[in-house]
Symmetry: C2
Subunit: 147 residues, 2 copies
DNA sequence: TAGATACGTCAATATGGCTGCCCCATCTTC
DNA sequence: GAAGATGGGGCAGCCATATTGACGTATCTA
């Protein structure tokens, strides 16, 4: 039990640290990366969808998105079916930047995957899925539909 | 790959959220819990050891420990072999409180473990171990010696 | 037309990090 | 025994990221 808690703590914090330098070059923090990541993942995401994923307040997200827009990493378009919505997308530059950050994550994860073996990776996923509360599960599964 | 990143993000954040209410009752935050946790884990830990584990600065930790001491959850004693050191310990109240918080974590983890099966749990551990950089590994292993 | 929804924004506040600098007590080494 | 290294504490100031509550506007739906 304690082992799981600790490994999760160390694994998560060390993985996230892997991209701090890349972010700092643009004067951004981890919060920006999280937004960037999920926008990259699901282009034309709306604000309210992103709010659900990140589980932060509108104000917190607003600041982050403003920063990203100022740096021309993210752009918004008015929704087609509902003009109140804003659809979020990465700019070409945003795509490049996110890919660069993701590369650092991928490198770390890939070496952990390789060291542990495919079977372990499946177990890793299974346990983590079990940690997600029922009310959030639908959202996470929706994300992974188009992996 | 993206799946691993996402699951780690959701799994970690959702697990940590499980204890926010318990902490808030004492006016504490997650930083306090992390200190509490590792002191519970290894009584008579020194300040510098805890600093290495948490990988934060002395000042940040200082504030946290002050809060915990004020609430009489943690106490310090002068080191035996080296009188400059302070050995950190939970008070009886601290032990009770940490156990209560840990219980929330255990409940979440236990249900994830049960749903995934023992084999998956082993894989979960293996992958997470692979995420810990070589320079931190010795420290984590030392922690787990006396599980 | 009335109400709900999506988004934006103001002000104020809290938490948890950081840097740089300086202090004291104690241990170690010469 | 003196000099320097180490463990710990503390100050001032800063930054990033989150919170709440309230209010405004555009747009959709009944």
């Amino acid at each position: 039990m304690r082992r799981g808690v600790e490994l999760l703590f160390f694994g998560y914090t060390r993985l996230t640290r892997a991209i701090d330098d890349g972010l700092a070059e643009h004067g951004l923090g981890r919060a920006h990366h999280r937004a960037l990541y999920f926008i990259a993942r699901q282009p034309d995401l709306t604000i309210s969808e992103l709010l659900k994923i990140l589980a932060i307040t509108k104000q917190s997200l607003g600041r982050v998105l403003t920063d990203l827009a100022e740096r021309k990493l993210v752009e918004t378009r008015t929704g087609v079916v509902d003009r109140r919505q804003k659809l979020l997308r990465l700019t070409a530059e945003g795509v490049r930047f996110e890919a660069q950050l993701f590369d650092a994550l991928r490198t770390s994860l890939a070496s952990a995957y390789a060291a542990a073996g495919q079977e372990s990776v499946t177990g890793f996923w299974r346990v983590l899925e079990g940690l997600i509360p029922a009310e959030d599960k639908a959202m996470v599964i929706a994300l992974q539909k188009d992996i």
